[in-house]
Amino acid sequence: MQLSKTFYALAAVAALASPALAADNMQGITATTIKIGNLGPFSGDAAVFNPLNFGPEAYLRYINDKGGIHGRKFETVFADSACNEAKGIAAAKKLIYEDKVFMIMGNPCSGVAMAIKPMLEQEGIPWMGPAANPKLTRPTSPAMFHTTYTGIESGEAMAGFALSNPAIKKIAIVEHSNDWAHGYCNPASDFIKKNGGEVLTRIAMERGSTDGTTQALQVKTLGAQAVLGCLYQPELIILLRDLQKFGVAATVVGALGADFDQTVQQVNSPAAVRDKFFQPYQFKAKIGTPALKEFEDMFVKYLKKDELPKAGPPTNFYYFGVPVGIVTVEGFRRAGPSPSREKWIAAIESIKDFDTGVLADTVTFSKDKHVGVSRMYAVGLDKDGKQTVYTAWGKPLPE
Amino acid sequence: MAALLELTDVTVRFGGLVAVDGVSLTVSAGEICAVIGPNGAGKTTLFNAVSGNVAINGGRILFQGEEIHGLTPHQISTKGVRRTFQNGGLFPHLTALENVLVGLHARVDSDILGLLLGTSAAKRAESAATARARELLDLMDIGHVADHLASDLSGGQQRILEIVRALATEPPLLLLDEPAVGLAPHMRSQLVAIIRRLASERGIGILLIEHAIELVMSVADRVIVLNYGKKVADAPPAQVRADKAVLEAYLGHA
């Protein structure tokens, strides 16, 4: 008994180690299924970002409902990273070595993503995800892909939109002291300096703040014409409210950590946001317009009740997550009836100018470019309070 | 004969309250000296002053001719002044043996590096200490409870254990704070015998606080009476017993 156990264990190790190198790797693929790992913060204080994981899941279920790809249906294994490196590694190892998934759909927490990167590279596990940390795909890692904007694209879009107003030169940055915020605001700061703007100051505003008086008064005293806020939604709301309170007229550009609609609604003061508060915009049209309606319907139809918001329509995080599913599926479509990791990666790298139907930019990958998108719009309320998507300052996107 | 312990004009104040007021006294080797007085007379404060738990505001305390006031309790203890506590100073969560081993602490010369490396010298020091502790317990006839928790011992055993622990390093001076509290009569007489034995056989100077007046009269060579922090008498028991003023001051309250 004991002996045979050892034998199987050794055999399994051997099976994993040697032949995999020779032939194409088909781990996670059966005649009828494709196993996908979905890694995200389902517990802990970053759980607020888990719609990023449900977006792609909705798309996979939609595809399954339509019969799957080349006769195979997707089978998702969720794993909780809790946004904690030690737990995230355990989760990823379970997906790779126990569940033997084909690939992993990414974890929005960049610390965890960085911690699992060496393992993914070693095993050659494909990864596709929405994590903001640009280091995941720069320099290019053979099997890792960003279908969505990293901190660099988003941060530059924030700065770029502010500078597209010729009147704006002096910019203040208000940010959390965490990797997420620095992931956006560091590239933003570099972009401003390179493009003729001036970064007046970088002001800290920590999570759990209940008041933004100090920050607002510093912005006011320094005479900033624009403020980049690399802040989560609660603190962004406080900053907007307090800037308004002290009559600071500066334009505010928020990072992608907040939901635009909710932020506007929760600031609850038109004067604080109209023609004043903007955010980089990842999508080709306004959420809620017919152009994106099919996605909203998809989320509502295919996600379970506890995977959707308690109240209201799906937030932009669902839309931001869904391209990960779309491009992954496109990879399988192109990889043909007998997919392998190698074929899938080649298929993804063959994607050029692919319209996801949701993102502002089309997706283009190549052998040495694993970030699929770059162009972003900006969203804001115009003078009349109408939500508008802009391509640049004062230039609304034609509807 | 040079005094073992010598207090000169010792004063302790707590805010406005003078707890010990210019007390002078001496204890010689082999002498049993009892401090009595009504509640709040400053007996325990006097003890705390000697053992370093309370700072004195005036006077001096000499032990073997050396000033000890101003030293920390552990330094005074290391010099050879050991004490027991009124409300039981045992470590209830340690066994009787471990309690005595703590008493022996300063005598165990195992260094930390030796212990961590498990050198035989360190091991020997530890096991020698353990053997010594068992011996001490046996000597006082409580060896059979060596591996029981202190909190599981009877009241009498706890009192004796505390004395064994205090005596582990063979100090020249022992301070006993109400050793007979809560003891059954037959235990009291055993206690008296032990105290006498310590003084006569080993020449230990003993300063004790006690409320049980019969015990004091039967064991003490000399009785010191405190009242409102002041010394009102310092004489052999018989003489104190006869002193009308003492009886008024003290027994009236007792």
Binding site: Y97, P118 | H74, Q75, F91, H105
Partner: protein, 334 residues
Amino acid sequence: MADAPKSAAPATKAPPAWRQRRYLFWLIPLLLLPLPFYLGQYKQYVVNLILVYVPVGVGFNIVVGNLGLLAFSNVAFFGIGAYTSGVLALKLGWPWWATILPAGLMGGLVGCIAGVPALRGVRLFYLAIMTLAFGELLRWVYIRWVPVTGGSFGMSVPKASINVFGWPLPTEGDKFYAFLFLAVLMVVLTDRLLRSRFGRAFMAIKGNEQAAAAMGIPTDRYILLAFAWGGFVVGVGGSMYAALVGHVTPIAFDLAELILEFAVVMVGGLGSLVGSVLGAAIITAAPEFFREWPGFQEMLFGVLIVLVILFLPRGVASLLARVHPIFIDRYYRD
């Protein structure tokens, strides 16, 4: 002195013979040796993580269990250990094995600093809040001292640096042997310390500080020693964490981590070395069993601790003690 003890606790009645057989504990690491041949990378990783938390629990227990002080600074020792290893490996190019001792020493140093308020008579909740503040301040330093710590992004420990005398540890199975050695070493050393006059001094201070001083124990020095040794052991755990996770970030040492480390000590058994090891195993492995219901994890975790405190106040170790007296720690009782 013939009167019998008031109540004879069965534990203390046991003849000391079983204590002579404590070498049987060596069977545990020996039996674990073939583990890498049976476990896959995932399970082996979880086992390694348990081994990281063994010193973390052992070190923490010295201060809160044996010395009995309410100090919340453990996560500071853990963090400084991890950062010391990370910085030495990344910035100075040291191999990991050479960073273990410095990590422990830094942990010990930080332990001494965290112990200073206790010397000034700060106790109970005051000490708890103060040490909590200390740990958070240190975390603030990790975030702010960007050139050294990498700031909020943290730092990646170079994979090549994770070796022992040049012998690389590429798989979880390889790390396991290094970790098992370190965990066992920390347990054995702490066991020796606690069984000596030093350990007895800690327990005497816990029981009655004044009486301990009256026995000639310099209490201040021993309080510092407990913090320093606790910090050292936890610092070594931090170094192991750096090698295992490979990525050291400030958020890994936040209040949630502190609660986790508390749980290791409480669930295992306050003041029990056996308990620290058990607690590390239970608290680290339990979430893996609840993977299917991630949202429930926090709630279950809270409920688990509540139940343990209510029904097993001396932790899971007290259950084992009922099985065989060999598991009774001689260090602590209520």
